[in-house]
Symmetry: C2
Subunit: 246 residues, 2 copies
DNA sequence: CGTCTTGTTGAGGCCTATCAATGAGCGTGG
DNA sequence: CCACGCTCATTGATAGGCCTCAACAAGACG
């Protein structure tokens, strides 16, 4: 079931895996735990799309016609204040599901960070499947619940943690997620997002984020071979920092 | 519907309204939209409980055996850091549902603010009902989704809003919720929680919260006849403040 | 090689946290 | 009934940390 052009680069698309069975995020995504008919029916309503870096998937306030599953790349979700202040509410990595809507309206903006591939499901069709396959609905509930729990952790971070604690938590969290994706380079994190994205995610400024990275490097807790690669040199200390135990 | 002693006093329990049909939060809670058999079965597994002020319902990390629906009073949900810093992640009012768990473990602490009544549902029993009644599962998904959207708003608040903007947003939000509960005193909000609760909810200190209330009062935006009663004198301005438009 | 974007580092000021004192409300007990 | 002590809220003074502004460095790209 190929394939849909998006962005300027439709060529990339036919390289995308076409069937759920072989999908890289098979065990993480919405489709996790489904079998046979369920998967076939899901596949019937899915469209694979690709986004080039910086491309907007949807805006807060748009009519929520679709939900998505990231299969590769990364998406930033964010909300804006009228004067341009931005809060990144999440980074969606392969396996993550996005498209939260309230009253049929998207609750945040979604933008591709790098080149990103997603599965797109029309809400209308998906709702029918939810009725037919309780397991799918349970999966959706589970993913929503997990995301809510993550949001609560983030509230603790935003409201009560210091900049170092925020950065340490962020790095460890990202590391955990990359591990779950099968990245076996333990203790090395690759940051797909910019300092400005990180700052807006942690409720800080770019300068503070940058200074904090530098400080952690100076103290020997991390190494920073490139600006987008973090090596954990003292994971224990990082974990203590993240929990405010230092 | 009087009134109930609590905590140590199981006697209170039988005084609480016994049937969902007559429940005050019938249209807000988990049970909203259910009928006949569904409601009967739900009623079969429910226990009404009462909590005195300050009483803990459960701790973060406890095994999550139950979920709850607030029927009267108010609950604060919070998370703690090892050194005692606290982040209140939400205030649960009548009609709200609580008991979020991940891997069967509660994701936050829950404490009664004032005298509070709740419906308690054993997760085990509820899960069986979810299988039998898709509508109930949809309702649960809907409530979880709404709460996730609220959490994202709160992230924006915590990460990017100034103290005045935080307080203004908080007051308006609370007002909206009280209105939905049928409080018809428009433009008057009764705060069930302390300044310290508010501070820990907004990522501020008590002093800053107090100063901000005073400032809003001085500027004529609100009135403050008692420390727990807020009168909106210029709602428009408050709304502008909340969205950072001033 | 120049330009643009992104990241890092520096200097300074403002805002909020901190520390401290006072005031208000409430229950208890004299 | 009022005095007392307790908790909670408010207000004041101070200081420290993060943001702001600014300059510089490092890549990315044509």
């Amino acid at each position: 079931m190929p394939n849909p052009p998006a962005g300027k680069n439709p060529i990339g698309e036919h390289r995308i895996v076409h069937n759920c069975e072989a999908c890289a995020v098979r065990d993480l995504a919405l489709c996790s735990g489904l079998e046979g008919n369920e998967l076939d029916d899901l596949e019937r309503i899915v469209t694979r799309i690709a986004l080039e870096p910086g491309r907007t998937l949807f805006y807060e306030g748009d009519e929520a016609r679709n939900v998505f599953n990231v299969t590769s790349g990364a998406i930033r979700l964010y909300k804006l204040l009228s004067d341009g202040r931005r809060q990144v509410t999440g980074f969606m990595l392969p396996g993550d599901y996005l498209g939260l809507s309230v009253h049929g309206i998207y609750a945040y903006c979604a933008e591709a960070i790098g080149e990103t591939h997603l599965c797109r499901f029309p809400v209308k069709d998906l709702n029918q499947l939810l009725d037919a396959y309780p397991r799918l609905e349970k999966r959706l509930l589970g993913m929503t619940r997990d995301e809510l729990a993550a949001a609560q952790d983030q509230m603790l971070l935003l409201g009560r943690k210091s900049p170092v604690e925020k950065v340490a938590s962020f790095l460890l969290d990202l590391c955990g997620r990359e591990e779950r994706l099968g990245e076996d380079e333990i203790d090395i994190v690759t940051l797909p997002m910019s300092r400005s994205d990180i700052a807006d995610y942690l409720g800080l400024t770019v300068e503070t984020v940058s200074r904090t990275f530098s400080r952690l490097k100076t103290e020997g807790v991390i190494d920073l071979p490139e600006s987008s690669r973090i090596v954990f040199k003292e994971r224990d200390k990082l974990e203590e920092l993240a929990e405010g135990m230092i």
